[in-house]
Subunit: 346 residues, 3 copies
């Protein structure tokens, strides 16, 4: 691995934030606070990690501006420590794949256009009429189908499959095992019970700044496009069916499935292992809690859960109702007793 | 992309259906009705799309025979418009992979038999003693293990893994990321709590006309075969464990899992995100609704839902019961009041 | 396929167990009891297979020591028949990939260290500074990222992706489609609603004797390591998020997901299609039943189910409560009637 070493002063300069302590302190790495060693930097802006402060051997802590500084550590201080953390992680991040150019064991078809400074590694297949933008990286074993476009700065990890006619935007990150442009699941039933394939002749469009987690599958549209809009982030093993549209800056968490032709709005969060049925619309800024099964439309700013999913407060009430049954049983028994005794009296 | 252009008259001839309107109308593509442009054909046989008819710029509509024809559009007319739609989509479909032959960057082991007119693209590994039928296409990066058989007309998309000793039928379609013949999950626990592997020495048989969606996994049998019977269609990310048998013409929707040794009948539909436990039998023509968890056998023609899954009508009753609890609470309170007032009277 | 043939006497010698019957009986294969043919061996130590004994054509049965031997078959007899079964399956197992050495169509980067007797097949990419132990097999199309280590005897099936800086132990088995070391799903939300990536600079550690099923994804840690401890077995399509730690000898069944930073203990069983939320701890020797959704910590030896998961007995009670509602409705009606009749009397 690369060895990256900074003095505290130098690191505070790069980050343009304040520091306290020894300016010449050597910072040679980052660690979780509980495992940090001498000369390592750790993050301490979430209260849950405060318990680890006495045990850490970190030499330097990144803290929020209201943190009570002492002289047991050196400090980097920011009013946006989470954002600064991402900057520090970028600085200490390892670099994949320093290979540049087209590998001699890549298979490039006719009429492929490459931008400047691309990296196309071994065992990559690129179909005919493909356009690859500048600074694009396509790691080993990935497949780019005929007529597809990969725009500038996009990073494609190993063993990704992007099938024909798809359009991938700028600064997209696609993790290993992803399949984009597989056929949608469409059949019509013939009189003899056979399922006759409905050809899927549309494509998939992935807009700029989308990130797609490992082993996600996004099916091509029957006609038209399956679309993932700008800035949306998709976690591992999410299934997105044909003709789905997912809006801007939405978060789709792991193992969720979205059935055909459903439209998800902007800034929507769908938590893990949820399912959304086909031909639905989920409004902007909605939150679908984990393991929900959504079977009808919801307007914007909905917060929903359960299966069939409903307003989260209603779902909570519903669940709490079940817990009231033992009390109901008891009360009915009491009523019976009272009535019995009344009858005796009468 | 290919440019396919027909006159209305020519297209009606090819499809052997009637048309109304200008015989010389140029039809140069297909589109969803709401997005269609001049010289495009759109489909209008589902009522939900009727609302889009005033907004479309399509020049031609494919409609059902009872549709009220006017002179705003040209028309193609059929009494089986869905089936005709599949024919039109086939006509306008793009063609993958015009490569024919064995690519010089494929790795072919000893004693492989190829039928006529195969396409084996770059970075395909074919193990020893494999038989490949005629007109088979194996796209880039796919793996065919030793002793396996791929029968005529079968299409294998990129980055598919078919391990040793498996048998794949005719006209099978296998999408990217699929793994066929991975080991079943079998262990015995030793006295020291270690899990000792049960070798999985069986195989997988995929019969004719099966389609397998992206990133499906089908494990090989411990002994004998895991079998997907003729005409069954499997959606993305379905997990099929060792020694499962799925009958003919069944539909298994996305993200469903079927545990070991379970037998699914013919013409069964299992909707998305369902699970079926191991060693069960689900009868022919059954429907398992989405997100069901099936834990016992069901006879043919069952319609089931819930977890643990039961007869769908019972499940609906069960769910409705919870909604009755608030009413029960209210009624008990009323009874208490009545009894209290009676007691006072007495 | 290999032809393996033994006499009954020879097989009993190899296995070091007793036999009854003809010592010269030829045993040429193994089969499920219902499908077994002449000269095949079948297993009969689970009662559910006893019904098949009259129909089998097996020549030899492996039975438990208390089985009532007759002269209709030859027998192999053991007091640990399940364990002996695994030995027999190993003997009759087919061998993958008899290729040895480094394939000329593999792509080996700088400074890679290979142990003795490795098998690195076609279209394998190995990054720089990778260490490969002795007797390691890496099948076709797999990717090993920079600086990663694969220890002795480990078997990597085709089309596996192991990204940079990961550490894979001894005797690990990794099935096709697996992705190890993809980025964890980490973003911070900026003031303009954009999701800014948190770089994931940690790695994944897979300890000895772990088996990882097809199409599993295991994300690298943000900082530090995602860890799968010694002897744990993971079924197909399991999603393991960043900074998760799974203890020793645990079993994680298919399509389960474990969210970020959760710690699963030793000897834990998580049944299929379950989910565990982030930042939780599940104690040693716990059992999480299928399709559970775990949202809080559980101590060791817990047996839990449901969503939100709770003690399994409580969950069962809860479910049974719903079934009591019809009876409650009936009883309330009866009470109403009684009170009504009392009122009339009064």
């Amino acid at each position: 691995m690369d060895n990256k070493i900074f003095t505290l002063e130098k690191l505070s300069e790069i980050l343009n934030i304040k520091y306290y302590g020894n300016p010449d302190l050597i910072i040679s790495g980052i660690s979780e606070i509980k495992n940090a060693k001498k000369n390592q930097l750790a993050f301490l802006f979430e209260k849950k990690y405060l318990k680890d402060i006495d045990k850490t051997n970190a030499s330097c802590l990144l803290v929020n501006i209201d943190f009570e500084i002492d002289d047991k550590f050196s400090y980097l201080v920011s009013d946006k420590p989470k954002f600064i953390m991402t900057k520090i992680l970028e600085i200490f991040n390892f670099k994949y794949n320093n290979f540049k150019g087209i590998h001699h064991l890549a298979n490039i078809s006719n009429n492929v256009l490459f931008g400047e400074n691309v990296s196309v590694n071994s065992f990559v297949h690129i179909g005919q009429n493909v356009k690859i933008g500048k600074n694009v990286t396509i790691m080993s074993g990935s497949f780019i189908g005929d007529n597809s476009t990969i725009d500038d700065e996009t990073l494609i990890y190993p063993n990704v499959t992007i099938l024909a006619n798809c359009i991938i935007g700028k600064k997209v990150i696609i993790h290993s095992g992803v399949v984009i442009g597989s056929d949608g699941y469409g059949f019509i039933q013939l009189d003899n019970n056979e399922h006759h394939k409905v050809p899927q002749i549309g494509n998939v469009i992935i807009e700029d700044n989308v990130e797609i987690g490992a082993s996600v599958t996004i099916d091509r549209a029957t006609i038209g496009s399956t679309i993932i809009c700008e800035g949306t982030k998709i976690d591992n093993m999410v299934h997105i069916a044909h003709n789905v549209k997912i809006g801007k800056r939405s978060l789709i968490i792991a193992q969720t499935g979205i059935a055909g032709s459903t439209i998800i709005g902007d800034n929507v969060i769908i938590a893990g292992q949820s399912g959304v049925s086909g031909h639905l619309e989920i409004g902007n800024n909605s939150i679908i809690l984990s393991r929900s099964g959504v079977t009808k439309n919801f307007p914007e700013k909905s917060k929903i859960s359960g299966f069939p999913a409903r307003n989260h407060l209603d779902e909570l009430k519903n669940i709490s109702m079940i817990n009231k049954i033992p009390q109901l049983i008891k009360e009915i028994e009491e009523l019976k007793e009272i009535i019995k005794s009344q009858n005796l009296k009468n």
